[in-house]
Amino acid sequence: MLERRTWKQWRYRSAILAGVLVFFGVSRLIRAHSTAPYSPAWPMVTLMTAATIVFAGYTLFIASFIWRTRDEFEKSGRLNSWYWGGSFGLMAAVAFLTFLRFGGVSLLAPSLSFNSSEMNAFAAGFLCPIIFQVVGFLIAYTLWRRAR
């Protein structure tokens, strides 16, 4: 039988899933109502960014409830996994990017054109989450240090 905390966690996960569905619905609606669906026209960019911020905030808000349902054993496991798994993932991603950047995968179209703007765009897109993760870690670590 599932523990009470496990039920709670699944309820919160369902709430996040519902949020994902709503977000996709809203983003489709925004794109459908914009005159040029994929152009960087400011109303669409603004609406999509606002919708994403609301979705990200909602997800983090629900995630905070999931975190509270966890006991110290689960929390320590997750903290350890995020630290070591995250660090390993970051380093692996940098190595993988280097491999791609220097034409390691010849089938990948952007890699074929070495100094192309496509490759630069690809690299920027690839690095974006890594940079944000590192910045997020630094902010969280600074706050943690200041609180002690």
Partner: protein, 73 residues
């Protein structure tokens, strides 16, 4: 760190799930503590001691060398 959690639990005829509910932790936590894979925090250790009407030292035994033993070598 060694502990007598399994013995104390068995004396009371509690399952891991029973103990977990009384301590407000998951059954996995109780199991991990019992087999020595996880050392509980001080607040949880106090909760365990209170539940069994005992002291922390009577339940948990530190296996690492004592400070005076470490410095004497």
């Amino acid at each position: 760190m060694k502990n007598r959690l399994k013995v104390l639990r068995a004396e009371r005829n509690w399952s891991q799930a029973d103990l977990a509910e009384r301590l407000d932790v998951s059954r996995q936590s109780v199991n991990a503590i019992e087999i020595g894979k996880y050392d509980p925090s001080l607040p949880l250790a106090f909760r365990i001691a209170r539940l069994f009407g005992s002291s922390i030292e009577a339940i948990f035994t530190d296996e690492s060398p004592r400070d005076d033993e470490r410095t004497s070598t």
